[in-house]
C-alpha cells in the first residue's frame, strides 16, 4: 500500500461525499469551460456568419449601423429601404468586383393546414423573411448554394426570373413549414401604403441545402416579384458588394465616392463585426462574473468537503498519528485526496462542457440574439488543459487549510473529539 492507494480507498469508502464533491467541482469546471469556450468561439462565429454573407461591404438606407448589422444577420424588423438607382450607379464603380441587390420583406404565414380551425392561432403571428434577389448576381455572390435532393426534393431549381408565384425555400424554413418541391406556400403581405394584407399563393420550386447560416431561414423570390408584392417597385433593402481589393484604404475611397447619394450609408462588414464584438464585450464582463462565481463556489465547496471529511475522520487521523504518521504524511494524504477530487471533478466537468456545449450554444444564442448561426462555443484542447490544470491548482490551494488542520491535531485530542 502507498499513499495514493490509501487516499483512493478513503475516497471510495465514502462514496456519497466523494461523488458530491466531484460533482461540485465538475459543475464549476463545466461552467468555466463553457464560458471560456464561448469567449474564444464567438469571434470566429461572428466572422463565419459574416463570411457567409458573401460580401464585405453593403449599402443600405441610413440608420444605426448596429441595427444594420443585426438586420443583415437575422433579417430583423424595422426595415429601411433605399432607391434602386443606387444599385445601378454603384454597379459602375471600378472597384466593384461583384454586386447584388437584395429586397427583404416580412410576410405573414398562413397555416393552410388548420384553416378550418379558427381557434388555432399558433402560426398566425409568425413571419417569414422573404428575400427578393437578382438571381444571376446573387448566385455569383453565394456560389455555395445547392439544392437539396432526395425524395420530395429532387428536381429542385431556381425560380424563373419573371415568375411571380415561384419560390425557393431555405433549408430551415422548408423543414419548419414542412414543405417540399411542388408544394404550395401561402403568405400574406401588407403592401406599402395599404392597410389590409393580401394573400399570395406560391409554388415551391426548390429547397436549398443547409448552409449553416441565416440564409437557411429565408424564402427566396425574384427581386421584381418581391418589389411588386410589397408595392415598393423601385426600392431595395441592401446592396451587397464585393470589392476587387478589400482593405481600409480602398474601403474609405469607396465609401467617400458613394456617400454622396443621400439617404444611403456604406457599411463595411468589418465595422459590423466590430459592433457585434463590442456588444459581446459588455456581455463578457457579466460572463466573467458568472465564471468567477462558479469557481469561487467550487473552491468553497472543495474546502468544505475536505474540511467535513477531516472533521468526520478526526478519530481516524488521530489513530494514524498514533500509529506513526507524521504531520507531513497526514498533510500529504489529505492533499492527495483533494488532488483526486479536483482532478476527477475537472475531467468530468470538461466532459460535461463538451457534451453540453450544444445546449450552452443554443442558450447563448438565444440570450444574445444576433442571428449568429454558427457555433459560438469553441472548446479547444488548450482550453480543457488550462481548465484542468487551474482546477487542480485551485483545489490543492483549497486543500491546504484542511490538510494543515488535520496534520496539526494531537492524536489524543483527535481521538477523544471523535468519541
Amino acid at each position: 500500500m502507498n499513499f495514493f492507494k490509501f487516499a483512493l480507498k478513503n475516497l471510495i469508502g465514502r462514496p456519497i461525499r466523494t461523488v458530491l464533491t466531484i460533482g461540485g467541482v465538475a459543475l464549476a469546471v463545466a461552467v468555466a469551460v463553457s464560458l471560456g469556450g464561448f469567449n474564444q468561439g464567438y469571434k470566429k462565429a461572428i466572422e463565419g456568419s459574416i463570411e457567409q454573407l458573401g460580401f464585405q461591404v453593403m449599402v443600405m438606407a441610413k440608420g444605426c449601423p448596429y441595427e444594420a448589422a443585426t438586420l443583415m444577420l437575422k433579417g430583423g424588423t424595422g426595415l429601411l429601404y433605399l432607391p434602386d438607382n443606387a444599385y445601378t450607379q454603384i454597379k459602375e464603380d471600378p472597384d466593384v468586383q461583384a454586386i447584388t441587390p437584395i429586397f427583404i420583406g416580412l410576410a405573414e404565414k398562413q397555416n393552410v393546414g388548420i384553416m378550418g380551425d379558427e381557434d388555432e392561432g399558433d402560426g398566425s403571428n409568425a413571419f417569414t423573411i422573404m428575400s427578393g434577389i437578382d438571381l444571376k448576381s446573387f448566385k455569383e455572390m453565394k456560389p455555395w448554394f445547392t439544392f437539396k435532393t432526395g425524395e420530395g426534393y429532387d428536381g429542385g431549381r431556381w425560380f424563373d426570373e419573371n415568375a411571380t408565384d415561384e419560390i425557393v425555400m431555405g433549408y430551415e424554413v422548408a423543414e419548419y413549414e414542412n414543405r417540399k418541391v411542388g408544394d404550395t406556400f401561402y403568405a400574406s403581405v401588407t403592401p406599402n401604403g395599404a392597410v389590409e394584407p393580401v394573400m399570395h399563393e406560391f409554388k415551391v420550386v426548390g429547397v436549398l441545402e443547409r448552409t449553416g447560416s441565416q440564409d437557411d431561414g429565408s424564402v427566396y423570390i425574384p427581386l421584381k416579384a418581391a418589389q411588386t408584392i410589397f408595392n415598393r417597385p423601385n426600392e431595395l433593402t441592401i446592396v451587397g458588394i464585393k470589392l476587387k481589393e478589400f482593405n481600409g484604404i480602398r474601403m474609405r475611397e469607396f465609401e467617400g465616392r458613394w456617400l454622396r447619394i443621400p439617404e444611403v450609408q456604406v457599411v463595411s462588414l468589418q465595422q459590423v463585426k466590430g459592433a457585434l464584438i463590442s456588444l459581446i464585450g459588455t456581455a463578457q464582463i457579466m460572463i466573467a462574473a458568472v465564471a468567477i462565481i462558479a469557481v469561487i463556489v467550487a473552491i468553497i465547496g472543495v474546502i468544505n468537503a475536505i474540511m467535513m471529511s477531516v472533521f468526520e475522520r478526526m478519530g481516524e487521523i488521530g489513530i494514524m498519528k498514533a500509529v506513526g504518521a507524521s504531520r507531513k504524511q497526514v498533510f500529504i494524504l489529505i492533499w492527495i485526496e483533494t488532488l483526486f477530487l479536483t482532478l476527477i471533478g475537472a475531467i468530468v466537468g470538461c466532459l460535461l462542457a463538451i457534451v453540453g456545449s450544444g445546449a450552452v450554444d443554443t442558450a447563448l444564442r438565444y440570450l444574445l440574439n444576433m442571428g449568429v448561426t454558427t457555433d459560438m462555443v469553441d472548446i479547444t484542447l488548450p482550453l480543457l488543459v488550462l481548465a484542468v490544470v487551474s482546477a487542480v491548482i485551485l483545489g490543492l490551494l483549497a486543500g491546504i487549510w484542511p490538510s494543515l488542520r488535520a496534520a496539526n491535531l494531537r492524536p489524543v485530542q483527535a481521538i477523544r473529539s471523535s468519541e
Binding site: 478513503n10 494514524m320 498514533a322 500509529v323 506513526g324 504518521a325 507524521s326 504524511q329 494531537r410 481521538i415
Partner: protein
C-alpha cells in the same frame, strides 16, 4: 537491579503532572507521578475509572505531553517537544492498542496492519504481514473489513498493527475493556504470549485485578496519584 539487561530503564517519568483546564476549574488528572518502566517487563496500571490511567499511559506513549515534570522515553527528553517531534519519539518505539480498537474502517485487516509500516517507510512484503496476522491467529481474515470482525478479532488486529513495526514496548489502554470476559482473557493471554516471544515491554491499564495479578509489576492509581 537483578539483571542488568532486564532492568534497563525504557521510560522514566518524574513529578509528572497533567492538568486539564476547563471553563472554571482545573482537573488535575495526574498530580505528581514518578514512574520507571523497564525494558521487557509487563507493567499494569490499575485504577478505578477516572483515576487518570488513560492520561498517564498517553504520556508514556508520547501521544500527549505533560503539563509539568520530566519524561524520558527511550533515553530522549520529551518535555517541550512539538507534536511533530513527538511523532519521531513514538515511531518504532511504541506500539499502541486502544480500548476501542480504532481500526481504519475503509481498510482491510491486512492493510490496517501494514499502515504503520507505510508511515514509517519500512519495506514489507505480503508475506511479512501474513506472518504477523498468523501470530494473532487471523490469517484467514486478511481481506476482511473491520466491520466484518468480532470485538476480540478487532482487538487482535489492533495488536498485530501495534507489533508490526517491532516496537520496544507495547502499550494498551484497557485492551479488554470492550470485550466479554472469555474473549478478554484470550486476548490478554495472546498479549502476554507475544511480548514474551518478542521479548518486549508491555504496559497496560485496567481496573481488573485478575489481569493485574498476571503482570510482573502493578502500579495503583487513584485521583492522579500513585498509591502503591
Amino acid at each position: 537491579m537483578i539483571q542488568n539487561n532486564e532492568k534497563k530503564v525504557l521510560i522514566k517519568g518524574r513529578n509528572l503532572k497533567r492538568y486539564y483546564y476547563r471553563a472554571a476549574e482545573t482537573v488535575k488528572a495526574l498530580d505528581g507521578i514518578d514512574i520507571d518502566v523497564f525494558a521487557g517487563e509487563s507493567l499494569c496500571i490499575l485504577g478505578a475509572s477516572g483515576s487518570g490511567k488513560t492520561t498517564l499511559i498517553n504520556l508514556l506513549s508520547a501521544l500527549d505531553a505533560p503539563t509539568e515534570g520530566e519524561l524520558f522515553i527511550d533515553g530522549k527528553n520529551v518535555i517541550g517537544l512539538s507534536e511533530n517531534q513527538l511523532v519521531d519519539i513514538r515511531r518504532g518505539v511504541i506500539g499502541y492498542v486502544f480500548q476501542k480498537f480504532h481500526l481504519i474502517p475503509t481498510l482491510s485487516v491486512a492493510e490496517n496492519v501494514a499502515l504503520p509500516l507505510m508511515f514509517l517507510g519500512m519495506p514489507y512484503s505480503d508475506r511479512d504481514i501474513d506472518v504477523i496476522l498468523d501470530s494473532v491467529g487471523l490469517l484467514d481474515r486478511r481481506t476482511h473489513k473491520p466491520s466484518e470482525l468480532s470485538g476480540g478479532q478487532m482487538q487482535r488486529v489492533a495488536v498485530a498493527r501495534a507489533l508490526a513495526v517491532k516496537p520496544k514496548v507495547l502499550i494498551a489502554d484497557e485492551p479488554t475493556g470492550n470485550l466479554d470476559k472469555q474473549t478478554g482473557d484470550d486476548v490478554f493471554a495472546l498479549f502476554l504470549d507475544l511480548v514474551k516471544q518478542q521479548n518486549i515491554g508491555f504496559i497496560l491499564t485496567t481496573h481488573n485485578l485478575e489481569l493485574a495479578e498476571r503482570c510482573d509489576r502493578v502500579i495503583v492509581l487513584e485521583d492522579g496519584k500513585i498509591i502503591s
